[in-house]
Amino acid sequence: MLNFLLLRLAPGDAASVLAGEAGSATPEYMAQLRQRFGLDQPVLVQLALYMKNMVALDLGFSFRYNMPVLTLILNRLGPTLLLMGVTLVLSVGAGVTLGILAASRAGSWRDTLISILALVSYATPLFWIGLMLVVVFSLKLDWLPTSGMETVAAFHEGWSRVLDIARHLILPAVTLSLFYMALYTRLMRAAMLEQAGMDYVTTARAKGVSEGRITLAHVVRNAVLPVVTVAGVQLGGLLGGSIVVESVFAWPGLGFLAFQALFARDFNLLLGIFFLSASLVVVVNLGVDLLYTFLDPRIQV
């Protein structure tokens, strides 16, 4: 409801955008559009209609695309989940590994190198990393495609299609991962160093447990908790898509759809995306809480 009212504050409406794209329009045409979109009704009537539809879990119809909102969103959900899933695995995996490597020799050249790498990839704008990867890996080396989700001229089927999609996935996933990886590296390193000074580590060492086992079985298991927390929160954000990466690599995700919907004042679609993202965040947070109990048995469900 708050979303709905906030969106109505934006000046202009979908009818003027459509007519604007058309390059010209008669007044009869504009009036016809507004009537069709229900924009000629008072805001409160529009709100009441919206609430009624939401209770029935009906996300409505996008007049701009001439399609139900749900179909539009579901079309984009697959590619979004694919990109975000791979990104999460890559970034958490690489981030945790680098964090461990850095913390286990804190202060050494290896630590410094990893910290610089993390800092640089965190500070560089995403679109620039993306474009540089395109220039290097697709234009210069000719290894990977520049953009899209599959080779459109070829229309592969079966396994060759899966392989084709995987090749297209590499650059956007790496671009997006670099940013998050940096974050997890820093976080993991700090947590590791903090845990390493704890009493239980001294106890374990006194018991004669080897350094490697202390790190892997005790320190890492405790240090990974904050990473999981942050990753859980970020996963919610990731599901909303990444406008920058999606637009640079022409990846058909939710983020760019929402972006387009905002600029076209396609409120039904935008509200639908908000609703879906919010629901997913709730589900993901529940999942993260359950994961806690597994990692740290002291936490009770």
Binding site: A10, P11, G12, D13, A14, S16, V17, L18, A19, G20, E21, A22, G23, S24, A25, T26, P27, E28, Y29, M30, Q32, R36, R64, Y65, N66, M67, L72, N75, R76, P79, F127, L131, V134, V135, S138, L139, D142, P145, T146, S147, G148, M149, E150, T151, V152, A153, F155, E246, S247, V248, F249, A250, W251, P252, G253, F256, L257, Q260, F263, A264
Partner: protein, 533 residues
Amino acid sequence: MRRARFVRVALLAALTGVLCLPMTAPAQKRGGTLVMLVQPEPPTLASYISTSGPIGQVATKVYEGLLEYDFNLKPIPSLAESWKVSADGKTITFVLQKGVRFHDGKPFTSADVKFSVLEVLKKVHPRGAATFREVTEIDTPDEHTVVFKLTTPAPYLMMALSGYESPMLPKHLFEGSDIKTSKYANAPVGTGPFKFVEWQRGQFMRFDRNPDYWRKGRPYLDRIVARFIADSATRTAAMEKGEAHMGGFAAIPWSDVKALAKLPQFETTTRGYEMSSPIVQLDFNTRRPPFDNLKVRQAVAYAINRKFVIDNVWFGWGKPATGPISSNFAPLGFYTNEVKSYNVPNGVEVANKLLDEAGLKRGPDGVRAEIVHDQTPYGEEWQRYGEYVQQALAEIGIKATLRYEDVPTWLKRLYTDYDFQLSSNWIQGLADPVIGVHRLYHSKQIRPGTVFVNETGWSSPKADELMDQATVEVNPRKRAALYKELQKIVVEGSPLVWVHELQFVTVYNKQFKDVIVSPLGLYASFDRAHSDK
């Protein structure tokens, strides 16, 4: 002896073979997939509801019109094989091609034309109500004859019958349902050379060759794919890598066209936009000071250096504009440059003099007036253009603050609230001045809430009269004379500054030939395009 004779016969046979070859073998190779970059992704494929450019670039491969046009802007046959306009201009008879079928196998007949014009274009098309206003009745004496009955002559109508402007739809699929929410908006069925296959939103659209196309032997390409890539740098990279073959309408930004043109595999052309004819403008709000004063408006017109804008903002593409009608209309005789010229070497000097006369004195800081300058929210170039305008105005003592908003906000400001002083803009002259030009200057076109009409608030009874006459004048020479007169009056009144004729550049891979073959350019059906690879 026998041997010699054999040789002779063989030679003769070989010779006949060689001679026959060019006649029997097709001149164009069949096959190939053309990947075109379309930007932005169109919301639907309903070209009968929206004339938006991206929709036009893809829907025209599926839907055709009654006519096509040659580079002299003369109509040539398409779905109509011939036509006749009566002497009084009130009856137009079309004879349709025979043997034309829609992609679902049903024949295309006069009933489809009648339905498309009266039930669809006249009712739901953004410009259709204006284009077909005078068409009150359509007779269909037989399956292949269509007779338009007009209340008053409408010479512009013959310019608006292309597959882009007035697509012909299958009556049997649209009839009886709500046209505005028809499912065929996302899965078109037409008569064109390519059939719609699928649309993966956010990615691509696929069109396959129509083997039953009525122009026998065409199209030559197997497939056309339209790709959507939001980032301009990625689009350029995709062209360079050969993942895409063509981009027009600024899909490749002007700044990148130069770089791509240097590569051996690309061809660039500015042809194929003769029926769009966009002009870059600066629109005044003539209701508010300081631009309610004619001298101030003229001063701004003098202060803009057209050549500088073309060379530095649009990388050399463009042509100084002289008035409301683009020089693309020259083949029809409508264009003239014999009007008051604001494009003079000592423009700044003249401008300062005019402002002095207008009573706008420079303050102690050299500033005569402060204004807000709105910029067209259509991308990079427009921001650079805005910055130039700011500097040019500073030279004549007008201090401009720049404002850049998103499209809906800007449209509302200009066309509903009239809450602006000076805004950049670009408007297409379209297929005929009645459709594309009158809307900016006629007093009846001051219509709050309707976009891209007269928002400057300027009008003149004399100009209104000339436009009204030109709308119904069937004699092309007399019509041309009316437009020349109109240009003089409007340019004198300076309701806006005509800076330059915007030139779009189409970049395409040289392996494709005959891609841009008419003034419709990317809005043509591509039935003649072929690949030599």
